[in-house]
């Protein structure tokens, strides 16, 4: 059997010597008419910009380093296997990959998630509290300043207060799919397209102790309060960023299905947990109506547990309401 398969393969190659391979398209959504589009500067731009004070350049580079290798702060700011760049791909510069510069041009602004006006620092603290399952750098600290400097530099030349931004966030799939997402179909999409890197168990892969492919669920992934835990956020991220190098290669439905599959798995507790997942879901329903948290799945209430992953506490102190009364 094998020789004939081999002969056939040889033959097909012989018939078309040096085929021109079909390149895998980079299939990203088009910007809508009237949208503001900003191309964030590159590392080369940073190094070559003679107008920058060298001390500032150094601080921006420090921020970039924290962004790219956030694991250097494992156990201090980060208690899972994520780096900022795990979700904000392409150094946080790429449109449709959660570009981070809009945080520098649109904040301070009111934010629905915590129902008050947030600064850029507070927005970054949100990422650390939820997506990194951690404890944010102190407001005003050197590390926070460095991260802010990196964000602001990526926004160089961008329009302040402009909110109709092309490529902001992850994409364009909207809040709900045309056809309901399906766990079993999602499991198949996962096995066919995602498991090769993230593992059949979803726990990612390391090499010599360093995270290469981040875990998508479990103790070392984003917690239940992370934006990515919302099925629509994950669907758009996946559609426009995954599999790596092949954005737009999954159908919209495949993206929805696999997002539902991934976000039906357990992960560390939402830092806003009241002790009851259903109650927490209700309390933060503007957020959790898009997640499966606090709902029943396979006979269990998702998120009804005291597991905070490697993080030895539930809620970082910076997560607090803010009023100006």
């Amino acid at each position: 059997m094998k020789p004939s398969v081999y002969a056939l393969a040889l033959l097909s190659v012989a018939a078309t010597p040096v085929m021109s391979a079909p390149a895998v398209p980079v299939d990203l959504p088009a910007y809508k008419e009237g949208q503001y589009v900003h191309q964030a500067p590159t590392l080369d731009d940073l190094m070559n910009d003679q107008s920058l004070n060298p001390n500032l350049r150094e601080v921006i580079l420090k921020g970039r380093d924290l962004f790219m290798n956030t694991q250097q702060k494992r156990g201090e700011y980060v208690f899972n296997d994520m780096n900022c760049k795990s979700c904000h791909m392409g150094e946080g510069r790429m449109n449709w990959s959660g570009p981070v510069w809009p945080a520098a041009t649109t904040l301070p602004d009111f934010r629905g998630k915590n129902q008050h006006v947030n600064s850029l620092e507070e927005r970054i603290a949100g990422c650390f509290s939820f997506s990194m399952n951690g404890k944010p750098p102190e407001y005003g600290s050197d590390d926070m300043l460095a991260l802010v400097a990196y964000h602001q530099w990526l926004a160089k030349g961008a329009q302040v207060y402009e909110t109709n931004i092309g490529g902001r966030g992850f994409g364009h799939l909207g809040r709900e799919p045309a056809q309901a997402a399906d766990y079993a179909r999602g499991a198949q999409v996962y096995a066919d397209n995602c498991a090769v890197c993230h593992g059949e168990d979803g726990l990612g892969q390391k090499h010599d102790g360093k995270v290469v492919f981040p875990p998508l669920w479990g103790d070392h992934s984003y917690n239940w309060g992370a934006g990515m835990a919302r099925v629509f956020t994950a669907a758009s991220f996946i559609k426009n960023n995954m599999p790596l190098g092949k954005p737009g290669s999954l159908t919209d439905q495949q993206a929805w299905d696999v997002a539902l599959f991934v976000n039906s798995h357990e992960r560390p507790q939402d830092p806003r947990y009241t002790g009851d997942a259903k109650e927490t879901r209700e309390k933060y329903s503007n957020f959790h109506k898009w997640t499966r948290y606090g709902t029943e799945f396979n006979g269990h209430i998702l998120g009804q547990h005291d597991n905070t992953g490697d993080k030895p506490f539930l809620k970082p102190d910076v997560l607090r309401p803010r009023t100006f009364e």
Binding site: A23, V26, V196
Partner: protein, 218 residues
Amino acid sequence: MIITRRGGAFAALLLTTALAQAAGDVDRGATIVMQGDGQGGAPCLACHGSDGAGNDGAGFPRLAGLDAGYLAAQLRDYREGRRISAVMAPNASRLNDQQIEDVAAYYTVQTLAVTPAELPADLLAKGEQLVKQGDWDNYIVPCETCHGPGAQGVGATFPGLSGQHSTYLRQQLEAWKNGTRNNDPNQLMLAIAARLSDEQIQAVSAYLSQQPTRRVSP
């Protein structure tokens, strides 16, 4: 269960690798490397050396220290026509699964220092940039994203690239690009290779050839 052909073949491959990896025997592998498979296949050392050094000028890859699962998968792919090489086909075609595991077990434990070469600094700098930062504006992701820190490889699927000969790396990138090599899972490598310019291929191959290979545990 419906699975795509690629996905199914890949899942099967993973399973086989996992089951067979422990079974490879270094001494039996050494015999095949030194003397051939006894059925007409050339001894591996003729091209790859008994130490797995390969030969840059001839385009023979370095095998020393590569992941055993990866090596075995490539031999199976040569044998079964998923990877095409006029040189490797006749030598792999009669190897049985056990012999493949044995050869892989032999070469994976070989340790060999990288031969330093005089290469232009600007070429190396450009290569380093691709390996560590990629070229996102052309949607070329950094090699390290999949091939791991230092591009030293991750598991049986993402081979170590560091210390590999530049001629072989260049030939393989060109083969992905023109479609003559296509045994990657889900076209992950094709996607990137097809976007690389000739200059980028030269640079990344040169840089990787000078990087230290993964540490092989004794």
